[in-house]
Amino acid sequence: MHPSSWLEVNDIGLYCKPGDFYIDPMNVVHTALITHGHADHARAGHHTVYASRETLAIMQTRYGEDMADTQSEIELGCGLQFNDVTVTFFPAGHILGSTQILIEYAGYRVVVSGDYKRRHDPTCPPFEVVPCDIFISEATFGLPVFTHPPIENEINKLLHSVRVFPNRCHLVGAYALGKCQRVILALRDAGYSKPIYLHGAQLKLCDLYQQFDIDLGELIPVSEVKDKTELEGEIVIAPPSALADRWSRSLPNVRTVMASGWMQIRARAKQRNVELPLIISDHCDWPELLQTIKEVSPKEVWVTHGREDALMYQAQKMGFKARALSLVGYDEDEQGGS
């Protein structure tokens, strides 16, 4: 039986009928399989949640210990049975704990990528190519204009700016989960050993990363700095929403920096009044999306989560069957990892 008859998209999300479970549902359901901890994938209040140990920990940190009645930790690469359906989680390389999900039923193999990237990320194992019949790919940066430069380049831009403007507080907008820690680690790799200052919203998740033995170096909450003028010449990381709000006005002589794949497009950076855009993404860029489709080499590509048109068009050109899958709840500006 072709998966289009037993995998359906409804108002809640992607539903597997024979296994009676949802993947990354947007509303409360009985059984939810969660690919990763970003808010557009992981919501609170499900009855039973299956996810990686790290993802469960992230959800607990965000939504509290009782974020679901039953919390089942999966093991990567080990099959789980839901009626006649076998489900296996594989690493996705997107953020700490991120996974793809392989669904096997009626002789078909379907892989739900969640979000993924192919670049090195010290916080998670690399994306694994899982052969399948149908590959459901995200397309956040699914346009050929998106090619992400190496993260080292972008971090050098930031360090260069700190040298050139030693009196300005460099306020970096970066999502609290994934991006923030990746920026910190890349700064450490580049030899930046000074304390890094954090907005309150970044603290809990950075603590969690440290509990998973990811060494982020010395981090200081901005709230603990009495004399804010001490932050001149320092690097402060805050959620993007804080760049323009009242909180940022307490900082001295701010230079606004933003770390996101969207920063490649001038107008988008300008819209947010960003003075120093850093193109740092936790998603695939266009060449990596194509590379992945080639490597996975499925019979069909279902495209979701972003700019479906171009990736579908390209996949068809490459000889794959392709269709768009419009999932609810996706919002490129709100979502965590872009």
Binding site: V145, R266, Q271, V274, E275, D309, A310, Y313
Partner: protein, 537 residues
Amino acid sequence: MEAFSHLLEQLYYTAGTNAKAQLIRDYIATAPDPDRGWAIAAMAGTLRFDFFKRNTVKKLITSRIDPELFAMSYDYVGEVSETVAHLWPEYTPIKPLPTLSCIVDDFASTSKQKVSATLASYLSMMTPPQRWALLKLGTRGLRVGVSARSIKQILADYGNKDVKEIETLWHAVKPPYIDLLQWLEGKVDKPDIKNAVTFHPVMLSHPIETKDIDGFSPNTWQIEHKYDGIRVQLAVNTQKVEPEKALYSRTGDDISHAFPDLLECVTGNMVLDGELLVIHNAKCIQDGMQTPEVDTFNALQQRLNKKKPTKALLESLPVGLIVYDILSLNGESLTACSLRTRRNKLERWLSLAAIPRLFLSPTLRADSPDALRELHKTVCEDRAVEGLMVKRRESTYTPGRPKGQWFKWKRDALTVDAVMMYAQRGHGKRSSFYSDYTFGAWEGDQLLPIGKAYSGFTDEELKKLDNWVRRNAVGRFGPVREVKKALVLEVAFDAVHPSNRHKSGVALRFPRIHRIRWDKPATEADTLDTIKELIEH
């Protein structure tokens, strides 16, 4: 090229005039000649030629990138240069890149057939931001949020000079401005421009306000028609060994080539400020005091569109100049004189010189604020006139827009209720918004497009309009979205002209969104016939 591209990047992302000025000053201080002069020309918009055409860029990219993917990318990015900069598939870095002046020289000397290959080779050695800089530079589309006026101010500050000195020199010196920059640095003497025929920056007016009308007194002010042509400056010196004549637009573009009929017949040594119009009795003039038989702006438009007018066109649509000011006469600058004095000199000179195609702009009379209002009303009944100019008789000729000196009193704008038909993404800051709207009027039960507007709304309204477009899109043609014919826009405009470029047969002058009629059903929008009745004859 690296330094120039770096400067543009920083300017793009830096907010605030002072910070931008600082960046440019630093660049001028560190970049060598002639690079920095070309950079100034690019930012001030004084480059004289396109390095390559936009179409060349499009052809290059579509031969390398799937056109569908290009269209989708362009639709998202909203701007061709940036789209191409990102999509360009070849990259073999060369360090250092050729200098800015090398690149300028290269394009200036490359034959037409080779432009495309030259451009391709440059693009292939550059990073996306550098490509963007080159594409913007080469198509003269650079907007860095610094006006030509600020560039002059920055140069003045750089050399510790008064900006007025730069203003007077500006149109006599040419890119790459080596003599100018070296003078600013105290290395050479001030460039000598005494005998050069040059553009003098023009004096502009403010819209008149009620308090200005109430404060009107007949002896203080000079009243004239506001003509519906284009403001030009005619600079002539036929008294020197190599006679020179030039006609400039109000921004200083040399438009002489398009108006040989006017230039042919003028002699003398003077700079005149006036309105260029199609005037049917232009040639038969005795002393400049005749009444000109003025045609519409639409007639003039046909001349403006032709860089090299045919004989037939010169015959059927002859141009003339209605002169309203004189800036210099026989080598003597008059800009420091009062308008009263200049006007006297102009009248005397024009009646004696009796140059064909030059008419004196007549002055009008009003004895009180009420009489002025009455006069405005009467004048505006004539659709060939745009309104009134009210100028202080004691005003010296001061470039820019000095306060309280000259006023324009335009005819009230016309409005029409039209229906939005298509929307397109804007540019720059607006490139993620649908901000350019094509609207139409009813003919029977069919809507025909009558114009396009992209201004007149607030940022808040823009967001609402953008949202409406996204929710009501019914089709797509490249970057253009067709929308449900349901939203009424009240469009303001200055005039209607017949047009054979539009299926509707009309074209609006300066259309802008006046109000968004969320409340009005599309069926109640105006018909084409209503609009045709407003055509000026």
